[in-house]
């Protein structure tokens, strides 16, 4: 089973993300900030990280930089999921090593599409009519 670390300082957002991703057959772990997320990754690298940007203690961008420096830290697919929807943030995230970027608000379709982009979810056999 693929694992996804959901990183967001809002417990509501984490809950919604968990529900969506569990339906997509991911095993979920959670972190409230970048520092907790980093500790989680040092314990076990997840296959994916759904990453908020603005968080106390350590934000998503700083976490991303530190993650990619860890041994095996280049492996997880990092998908930002944030209210920061400006081009400047997106470009910075990509330059910082993010694989994809979701602008909040998000729904199941968007999460599915983005996780398909990074190769963590197979395409359906046929599209629905």
């Amino acid at each position: 089973m693929k694992t996804c670390l959901v990183v967001d300082d809002s417990s509501i957002v984490r809950k919604i993300a968990r529900r969506i991703l569990e339906e997509m057959d991911f095993q979920i772990t959670e972190a409230e900030d970048g520092e907790q997320a980093l500790e989680a990754c040092k314990g076990a690298m997840p296959d994916a990280v759904l990453l908020d940007w603005n968080m106390p203690v350590m934000d998503g961008y700083e976490f991303l930089g530190k993650l990619r420096q860890l041994p095996g830290g280049d492996v997880p697919k990092v998908v930002f999921c944030t209210t920061e929807n400006g081009m400047d943030h997106i470009s910075r995230a990509l330059q910082g090593g993010a694989n994809e970027y979701i602008m909040k608000p998000f729904d199941k379709d968007i999460v599915t599409a983005k996780f398909q982009e990074v190769g963590l979810v197979a395409l359906p056999e046929q599209s629905s009519i």
Partner: protein
């Protein structure tokens, strides 16, 4: 919606647009026509139907338009666009090397995601297309969706489904909550209003035709007729791309499938069956006239 109203709408849609709704698509009509009822200032579909029966051509036109628009998104189903990049375009670059020009038709261009996905794919091919002229013609029955397609403006939701973030950053400009595809890509797509039931020979001959998820709404005879006319509008070594749930197999032999490439077809060179053509043309002409 009462059964008689549903039947009335089914027949009207079939006569005006060829759209063939099966018996269980009430939910589709409701989801599209309830908002339209509100917009027209009537309480519900029953009252909308009354106005249509009373002869309101404007409401009839709006109903047809509301029912014939499709949901679409960028790089829908992914695989056809991989075929485009990995199979179709490489072959076309060789086959058209002398002509250095390629004509592409998106026969249900809708709100533009499909033609613009092709435009982005072409841009991504970079120097391989230097000196080439590639035309993308996007047609649709609905003038409303064509206007949206021309504008190239999409919501935050729309640009997050199917579009890799790198392409969003590269080819779009942000304008508040909206995103607009760059002028260079808008310039690559020409838009025309077209009813597929009508003669489309004036569009010329194409190398590549995307006709995805629009024929599903037509009945079998109409599909066969359109396939016949599509084959005539294509070069013999051209490519036809259908939607994931569609096929020509069992309907017509004017196209032959690529066995290992789902959704991809090429003209077979066979002529459309004469008897089909003879009986169908008056019927199609009657349907198309409005």
């Amino acid at each position: 919606m009462t059964p008689p109203d549903y039947e009335y709408l089914r027949k009207l849609l079939k006569d005006h647009s060829g759209l063939d709704l099966s018996a269980d698509k009430q939910y589709l009509i409701e989801s599209r026509l309830l908002p339209l009822s509100r917009k027209c200032g009537v309480p519900g579909i029953g009252e909308l139907v009354q106005k249509m029966k009373a002869g309101s051509s404007s409401i009839i036109a709006q109903v047809v338009e509301a029912m014939t628009t499709n949901e679409t998104f960028f790089f829908r189903d992914k695989i056809p666009f991989e075929h485009f990049r990995d199979a179709i375009m490489p072959e076309m670059l060789k086959a058209r090397a002398a002509r250095k020009s390629i004509r592409i038709w998106c026969a249900a261009g809708s709100t533009g995601q499909e033609p613009y996905s092709l435009a982005m794919s072409l841009k991504e091919m970079g120097a391989a297309l230097a000196g080439w002229r590639v035309e993308i013609i996007a047609t649709d029955l609905s003038t409303e969706v064509l206007e949206k397609s021309k504008s190239g403006i999409y919501s935050q939701f729309e640009v997050q489904r199917g579009l890799p973030i790198q392409l969003l950053v590269k080819y779009f400009k942000q304008n508040g909550e909206l995103w607009q595809i760059n002028p260079e890509l808008r310039a690559m797509v020409q838009h025309r209003q077209l009813n597929l039931l009508h003669d489309f020979s004036q569009l010329g001959v194409f190398d590549i035709v995307f006709c995805r998820n629009v024929l599903i709404y037509f009945d079998q005879d109409t599909k066969i007729n359109i396939f016949g006319r599509l084959a005539k509008a294509m070069e013999g070594d051209g490519f036809l791309v259908l939607g994931a749930a569609e096929t020509v197999v069992g309907l017509t032999d004017v196209f032959k499938p690529f066995p290992d490439k789902r959704g991809l077809y090429r003209p077979s060179g066979a002529r459309a069956a004469a008897t089909q053509a003879a009986t169908l043309m008056p019927k199609i002409a009657a349907m198309a006239g409005r």
